[in-house]
């Protein structure tokens, strides 16, 4: 297999990246990997692979321009957060959720918080909001054909157990 960048040397580095819910594989030779800032001696973090290596994906010409999408609260663009690998504010999670869902699933294998909550988020106000959130999460999981998460969410809705704490035996 040849390097995706130079198309000359054999590929030695194989990366898998999730972009807009699609899995992309990138194959690079050692020289191109080094030029792209990949240190073969160093362990790469999952974040680097999933967020910060956008520039490695060969231009196909069919990709969306990334400047159109801005977070309504802090104003950073999709391209900016991807370049820095850091989100701008709390509202970015909603604004860029299409990108974040596959990425978060890849890292955490879950799409629903199951831990502590601030006291201000205690039931019952929360519960009403939450069932909406669960429904939305379920719809997204089904859409992405992530049936394991979908089954999980469905169980949570049935149990009326939003935090999922009991499931974890705590």
């Amino acid at each position: 297999m040849l390097c995706d960048k130079c198309q000359k040397a054999p590929a030695a580095v194989h990366l898998t990246q999730v972009v807009d819910g699609q899995v992309k594989k990138i194959h690079l030779c050692e020289a191109c990997a080094a030029k792209s800032g990949i240190d073969l001696q160093k362990t790469m973090s999952v974040t680097d692979v999933l967020m910060g290596l956008d520039h490695l994906v060969p231009e196909t010409g069919t990709e969306k321009t990334e400047t159109d999408s801005l977070c309504p609260e802090c104003g950073i663009s999709r391209a900016e957060y991807k370049r820095r690998g850091r989100l701008g504010c709390a509202a970015c999670y909603e604004a860029f959720s299409d990108d974040l869902i596959p990425m978060i699933r890849a890292v955490h294998h879950h799409l629903q918080h199951g831990g502590k909550k601030p006291h201000a988020h205690a039931v019952p106000v929360e519960e009403a909001d939450f069932s909406g959130d669960l429904k939305a999460a379920l719809a997204k999981a089904v859409e992405a054909e992530d049936y394991e998460t979908a089954a999980h969410l469905r169980d949570q809705m049935k149990d009326g157990n939003p935090s999922g704490r009991e499931r974890h035996g705590t």
């Binding site: 001696q41 160093k42 362990t43 973090s45 999952v46 974040t47 967020m51 802090c74 950073i76 820095r84 690998g85 850091r86 989100l87 701008g88 504010c89 709390a90 999670y93 974040l100 990425m103 978060i104 890292v107 955490h108 294998h109 879950h110 799409l111 629903q112 918080h113 199951g114 831990g115 502590k116 909550k117 601030p118 006291h119 201000a120 988020h121 929360e126 909001d129 939450f130 959130d133 939305a136 999460a137 939003p162 935090s163 999922g164 704490r165 974890h168 035996g169 705590t170």
Partner: protein, 352 residues
């Protein structure tokens, strides 16, 4: 300055001599952000100062934080920043920060708060030995106390919102520092690191990378922060640490039984070099001290106490040496000072 109060405190490094030293320390880190502000990486100086002031105000109201030492990055010298870094109280990222960023340390209570690093708040509790449960309890109580003063960025779906989605959910990183020299000597670390990475547990060298870990010190931590409860994350981590301890104990027995000469040679060389060398690099010192530490635990070295080695592992780091010798030394001068210090401490104890 008050920094000495932090440095003079033994921190989490002292484990009773009678206990096994395989588990060195436990650390619980919790990431939190304030709802009203952008994440620190996108804030300008005024914004960061605003967050800093808000949080200082909140902390002032918390009785558990009454004995705090406040270290603003803008007021620290480079050496002081390095000292805090070597104590695991600030990160490299924090060292590069300036106004509106810093760390608040309560040395006697074993916790600290980094303000405006990657997230507005990085709350850390450090304890000796395997004590993740109690560290979590302490972190949880402090988190509650801060939350009573300030509104956090939280969503019922994603949990606590963090600047990097790899920390979202609980924002919890539970890590345990382990001394695993026998597994390294038996060349068994690589499959362990690979196997654990598949179940979402990261194993990293405390100094250096992967199996090249200088001093054979490893940090074991959870990668997954979303989905499970805090207690679930902690108990999975503890269970894995206990298994690793068993593996290390087995490897030590096999070393003694199957590779005794190799082991004795390893320990003998380490002792010889440390006693006679005139120049010691940081990495060499870590590796040789690690060998002595193993020898003491295996009772093959009886004239030294483990606490002496543990203290040297801390004091031979570059910034700690500079502070001790109170001068701005070049690397080769540091190597000389390091060799002197080690020789003095080791032979002093031999003469006890």
């Amino acid at each position: 300055m008050e920094l000495d109060r932090i440095l003079n405190h033994p921190g989490a490094r002292v484990i009773p001599e009678t206990e096994s030293g395989i588990v060195v320390s436990s650390r619980v880190r919790v990431a939190r952000n304030l709802r009203a502000f952008s994440f620190p990486g996108w804030l300008d100086v005024d914004g960061r100062v605003d967050v800093w002031q808000t949080l200082l105000g909140a902390i002032q109201e918390i009785p558990a934080c009454s004995e705090r030492v406040i270290c603003p990055m803008s007021e620290l010298t480079e050496m002081e920043k390095h000292l805090l870094f070597e104590r695991h109280l600030i990160s490299r990222e924090m060292m590069a920060r300036g106004e509106g960023c810093g760390v608040i340390v309560c040395p006697e209570d074993g916790f600290s708060l980094m303000i405006n690093e990657e997230d507005h708040i990085r709350l850390q509790v450090l304890d000796a030995g395997l004590n993740l449960q109690s560290a979590l309890k302490q972190a949880d109580a402090l988190d509650d106390a801060i939350e009573a003063q300030a509104e956090y960025a939280f969503s019922s779906k994603w949990g606590y919102l963090t600047s990097c989605p790899t920390n979202v959910g609980t924002g919890l990183r539970a890590s345990v520092m382990l001394h695993l020299p026998a597994l390294v000597l038996m060349q068994e670390m690589r499959p362990i690191i690979n196997g654990l990475s598949k179940i979402g547990i990261a194993v990293r060298g405390l100094w250096g990378e992967n199996t090249e870990a200088a001093g054979h010190m490893f940090q074991v931590s959870n990668q997954v922060t979303l989905g499970d409860s805090e207690e679930g994350i902690i108990s999975q981590n503890e269970q894995i640490v206990q298994e690793l301890v068993q593996h290390e104990e087995n490897a030590r027995i096999r070393l003694l039984e199957e590779k005794n000469v190799l082991l004795q040679d390893h320990l003998g060389r380490a002792g010889g070099i440390l006693e006679k060398a005139h120049l010691l690099s940081s990495k060499e010192a870590l590796n040789l001290l690690s060998a002595l530490r193993l020898g003491i635990e295996l009772k093959l070295i009886t004239h030294l106490r483990r606490s002496v080695i543990d203290e040297l592992l801390l004091l031979t780091q570059p910034a700690h040496l500079q502070k001790m010798f109170a001068s701005d030394m070049k690397p080769d001068e540091r190597d000389q000072a390091r060799a002197e210090l080690v020789k003095k401490r080791i032979t002093q104890q031999t003469g006890d």
